[in-house]
Symmetry: C2
Subunit: 411 residues, 2 copies
C-alpha cells in the first residue's frame, strides 16, 4: 500500500475497494447462527460475504496477512520485535496468526482477556494493566500457574507487595514488568519512583522483574509523520532515562516495550526498545488512515484497511440521504468516519443507535433499498467489541468464522 | 423524583446517591461467570454490588419499579398505553416486568432482537424497522407463524408485496403497521404516499393492516420542556394528518404509536395516539437527565436513574486526576457524561477504550487505588449493548443476574 505519491482520502476510497457495492435481490443472507453451524460442519463452500446478514463484521485475509508481513519486515530491519495488543481483535485465531507471523507474544489490557487467550492456547501474554483488586490478583496468579509465559504489569509498591503475597500463596514466582507512565493515564511516574518500584519488585522473593513497559496512548494519532516523530521521541525520553537508571542499578531490562501502530517506525529509534505493542495495524481504521504516514501525508497507507462492516440500505426516500442498518451499535461513535468504500463524497453519521445516515452531494451510482455497502470502521478496537464473530474473507468468499472470544471482557 | 424546586445537575448528583463510594480491601470480587453460577444455583445471599468484578452493569430494582409505576400512572390519566422499546434493555426479564406493569407489548428495532424476545416468551412484539432482505423477511414470517402477536413495520410498496408473498408461502396473514416518517431517517413520507401504501397493505390478501407508527428520534432530546413540546407537536402534524386521511379512507388505525421518554407527557396531547414507544425511562442516562423536565428545567427528574456502571480506581499518582478501569468499551463515547455519583465536580472522560480518566478541581473525599465508583451512563442503549449480563440490585444487594439476551443483536 506504500506509495511515494500523495494520495487523498477521496482517491484512497476509490482505489481501495472499487466495485464492492452489491445489488439486492440474490443473496441468501445467512444469519450469525447459520454461519456458525456451517463453519462447525466445515462447509463454507461458496458463501460470499454479500450473503451475510448485516451488519456483519469482516476481515479481508489477504490484507490481514499483508499487514502482518509488513510489520515483520519493517521491524526485522531495526531488530525490534512485535508483541501485538490483543485488545484490538479479542480473537484467538488472529493472535495465533500473529505469533506464526513472527510476533514474540501478545498483550492484553484486562485479566478477563488474558484468561480467554490463555484458555485458547495462546501462552506468551503480557498484561499491560495492573491487577489491583484481590479477585483480579488471584486470577492473575491462576493464569501464571497454568501458563509460565504470563507476565503482568505493576505500577504501585503496595500492588507489588500484594502480588508477592499472592504468588507465594499460589506457590509460584510471578513475572513482572514495571509500567512507566508517559502522560498521566496509567503507570508509575518515570524516574526515581519507577526505579524504586523496580528495586522493590527485584527484591521480593516471589516476583521476577522482567523489565519495563511504557506506552504513549496520546502519541499514536498525532497527525503528520514529522510531528508525530518529534513528539513521540521527546515524550519518551523520561522512560529511556528510567530504563538507563535501572540498567545502572543492575536491574533486569530484558523487556522494554511500548509504541503502537502510529509509532511503529518511530519508537525503534529510541535506545533499548525491545518490542512494540502494536494493535490496529492488522485491521486499520479511519482514525489511523487519517494521521498520514512517512511516505504519504494525506493517508496512512503503511497498512491495508482489512476490517470492514457490511451494511444494508433501508431507506432512499429523502433527497441526498440514505439510511442503512448500521448505527452506533454496529460501528461506535468514534470520529472520523465510517468511510464508505467506493464513495468519496459520502458523509456517514452513525449517531443513531440502530441506523446509519449518509448525506451526500454526489454518488458514484444510484442506490435502492436492499443494496449493500462496505464500510471502514471509525476505530477498530471498540467496533470489534460490538460483535460475537468475525468473518474471515478471501476474495469476497467466507473462509472462516472466528469467534471474538474475548468480546465484552472489559473486566 | 418530581420536585417543584429547581435542581441543578450538581445537586442532583449529590442527592441521588450519597455515600455510594466503596473503599477497597474487603470485597470478594465475583466474576461474571461466578455470578452466573451463583444465580443458577439460586444462592445470591449476601452478595453486595460492591462484591462484583468491575466494570459491572447494574440496575437498581427499586428505581426500575418506580419508573415503570410512574409511566403507568402518568399514561393512565391520558388513556394512552405504553409499548416500551426493548432495544434499550435487550433483556427479556425487563420486558416481562414492563408487561406485568401494564405495558401492552414491546417494540424491537431488529429481527434478531425480535427472535430473542419471542424465544424467551415475550409475545406482543412490534418491530419498528422494516425487514427488506429475503432472509429477514423469511425470519419475520417464521416469528409471526409461531407468535400471533408479532407486528412488523413497512415503509415501501415493494416491501409490502414481498411480505405478502412471504406470508402466503408461510401460510399466514402478517400484521403490518405503516412506518410514517418524521424527519428523514426512516419511514414513508407522510401524506398521500403513506396513505397509498396503507391502501396497498389493506388490499394485499396475506397482510393485515393494523395502523401506523411514527417516531420522532430528533424530538426526544430537545432541551427545555416548552421547546420540546412545541417542536414535537409541530413536527408530528403531518403524521396526524396522514392518520386522519387513512381514517377517512376507512383504513385501520387501531395502532397509532410514537413518542419516547423525552415526549411521554407531550405526544398524548396529539389526537389519535394509542401508545408510546418509550425506552430509556426504565434506566435513564446523562443524555436524558440533562434535557430538563416540565417541573425542573435543569434536570429531567421524572424518572430515576436506575442504571449504573461500577468502576475501580486504578491510578491516583497524578494531580487532580484519577484513572479507572471503565473506558469506552464499558460506557461508550456518548456525551455528556458519565456522571460520578456523589461527586459533583468530576469530569469523566471515557475516551480511552479501556480506561476512564477523571479530572477534577475538588473532590468530596480522597481516593486510593482499588476504591470503587458508581457512574450514571452517558446513553443507556449502547452502554447496555457492551455487557452480557445485568446485575439486578436492591438496597445494594444482588437480587438477580439477568442475561442481556439480545446483546449484540444488531442484525
Amino acid at each position: 500500500m506504500r506509495s511515494a505519491a500523495k494520495m487523498s482520502r477521496r482517491n484512497f476510497l476509490m482505489t481501495s475497494g472499487a466495485a464492492t457495492v452489491w445489488a439486492s435481490g440474490t443473496a441468501h443472507g445467512y444469519t450469525a447462527a447459520e454461519m456458525r453451524v456451517k463453519a462447525a460442519g466445515g462447509d463454507l463452500t461458496g458463501v460470499s460475504k454479500w450473503d451475510l446478514d448485516t451488519p456483519a463484521l469482516c476481515v479481508d485475509l489477504d490484507k490481514l496477512e499483508q499487514n502482518i508481513a509488513t510489520m515483520r519486515k519493517s521491524l526485522a530491519v531495526v531488530k525490534v520485535a512485535s508483541r501485538p495488543h490483543a485488545k484490538t481483535h479479542k480473537c484467538p485465531a488472529i493472535a495465533k496468526l500473529q505469533l506464526a507471523g513472527g510476533s514474540i507474544g501478545i498483550c492484553t489490557a484486562k485479566i478477563s482477556e488474558a484468561e480467554v487467550f490463555s484458555a485458547n492456547g495462546v501462552e506468551p501474554i503480557l498484561m499491560t494493566t495492573s491487577n489491583v483488586t484481590p479477585n483480579k490478583i488471584r486470577r492473575a496468579m491462576a493464569i501464571r500457574k497454568a501458563n509460565r509465559q504470563f507476565i503482568q504489569a505493576v505500577d504501585y509498591p503496595q500492588n507489588a507487595l500484594d502480588l508477592n503475597d499472592a504468588a507465594k500463596e499460589a506457590g509460584i514466582s510471578a513475572d513482572i514488568v514495571i509500567d512507566v507512565a508517559v502522560g498521566t493515564r496509567s503507570g508509575v511516574p518515570a524516574g526515581d519512583q519507577a526505579v524504586a518500584l523496580a528495586k522493590l519488585v527485584d527484591k521480593l522473593p516471589y516476583l521476577k522483574l522482567r523489565g519495563v513497559i511504557s506506552y504513549d496512548g496520546s502519541a499514536q494519532h498525532i497527525k503528520g509523520f514529522k510531528n508525530r516523530l518529534d513528539q513521540t521521541l521527546k515524550r519518551f525520553e523520561p522512560s529511556i532515562e528510567t530504563l538507563e537508571k535501572m540498567q545502572r542499578a543492575g536491574l533486569s531490562t530484558e523487556i522494554f516495550s511500548g509504541g503502537g501502530t502510529g509509532t511503529y517506525n518511530i519508537l525503534p529509534k529510541a535506545p533499548g526498545v525491545t518490542d512494540l505493542q502494536v494493535g490496529s495495524y492488522i485491521f486499520m481504521d479511519c482514525q489511523y488512515l487519517e494521521i498520514g504516514g512517512e511516505s504519504n501525508d494525506e493517508v496512512y497507507t503503511d497498512f491495508a484497511p482489512s476490517l470492514t462492516v457490511l451494511a444494508t440500505v433501508l431507506n432512499t426516500y429523502f433527497e441526498k440521504s440514505i439510511t442503512t442498518d448500521a448505527g452506533a451499535k454496529a460501528l461506535t461513535l468514534n470520529k472520523p468516519g465510517p468511510w464508505v468504500i467506493g464513495e468519496k463524497d459520502f458523509v456517514y453519521n452513525a449517531g443513531s443507535d440502530e441506523f446509519g445516515v449518509i448525506k451526500y452531494e454526489k454518488a458514484e451510482r444510484s442506490y435502492k433499498v436492499g443494496d449493500k455497502l462496505e464500510l471502514i470502521v471509525p476505530h477498530c478496537d471498540p467496533a470489534v467489541n460490538e460483535y460475537d464473530q468475525l468473518y474471515a474473507i478471501r476474495k469476497d468468499r467466507v473462509e472462516a468464522v472466528w469467534p471474538i472470544a474475548a468480546r465484552g471482557h472489559s473486566q
